[in-house]
């Protein structure tokens, strides 16, 4: 009986592998983290150095927190990835972008902001991390 069960388990494991590989590409624990520090820990970000080489363009006052346009650009050579955090959102990690083959570390997107807070951007360059932040005042939160 145990022999048959183990064969079944091996077969099942084989079937589940490709599914697991796809699911692995979305970093579930990073998006399940309820604090910015928790999310950073999952993403292995440490010793982030503050820099003026990351530009964050966002409104000083956002009337509607459901749609806040942000523009993020890294001028640091060798930037591989860029994460956007909203520290007071229920899920602080908003987006994490990875660039390769000519894609520039520059994105414009629209995010939700639960309340007035700092946006933080962390950039990955090899094994080093750099960060910048920008405060946005939100009149009406938009994280429902």
């Amino acid at each position: 009986m145990t022999g048959r069960r183990s064969i079944l388990q091996v077969l099942l494991a084989g079937l589940l592998l490709p599914l697991k590989a796809i699911a692995a590409s979305w970093n579930t624990p990073a998006f399940e983290a309820r604090t910015i520090d928790g999310a950073k820990q999952v993403l292995n970000m440490r010793a982030e150095e503050n820099t003026a080489q990351i530009e964050i363009v966002a409104p000083d006052f956002a009337e509607n927190g459901a749609v806040v346009q942000v523009e993020v650009m890294s001028r640091i050579a060798g930037t591989e990835a860029m994460a956007i955090f909203a520290e007071k959102n229920p899920v602080p990690l908003v987006a994490n972008f990875t660039f390769s083959h000519g894609a520039q570390p520059y994105v414009i997107t629209r995010i939700k902001m639960a309340e007035s807070q700092s946006l933080q951007v962390v950039v990955k360059v090899g094994e080093r991390y750099y960060q910048a932040s920008r405060y946005v005042t939100v009149s009406e939160g938009g994280c429902g």
Partner: protein
């Protein structure tokens, strides 16, 4: 859902500026509808972009990306006639793809 992707590309001194607008509810799972029932989470988790089938961008998204996601990204080394494609996958297993030629 898969049909709801608008893409535009503009080539400027070798850099393609790609604008993407996707129709998607991006529900957080924390919102109640009119009858007070929780609306289940429904959001895009992964968006990938390729230039002539070569991966250039991978975006992992949470529920903090606004409804009907809007994204502009930039790819150096693009030429006229190149193909730029994007594909998204959400937490319910739905997906969408769209491609455009650099013109």
């Amino acid at each position: 859902m898969a049909a709801g992707i608008k893409m535009r590309v503009r080539l400027q001194s070798g850099v393609a500026e790609v604008r993407v607008l996707i129709s998607h509810p991006m529900e957080t799972g924390r919102r109640e509808d009119e009858s007070g029932k929780m609306v289940p989470a429904h959001f895009i988790q992964l968006l990938t972009a390729t230039l002539n089938q070569v991966p250039v961008l991978e975006a992992q998204w949470g529920t903090g990306v606004a409804r009907d996601p809007y994204l502009i990204f930039f790819v150096a080394g693009a030429r006229l006639g190149d193909s730029i494609a994007i594909e998204w996958h959400d937490n319910k297993g739905e997906s969408g793809r769209q491609s455009i030629q650099v013109a």
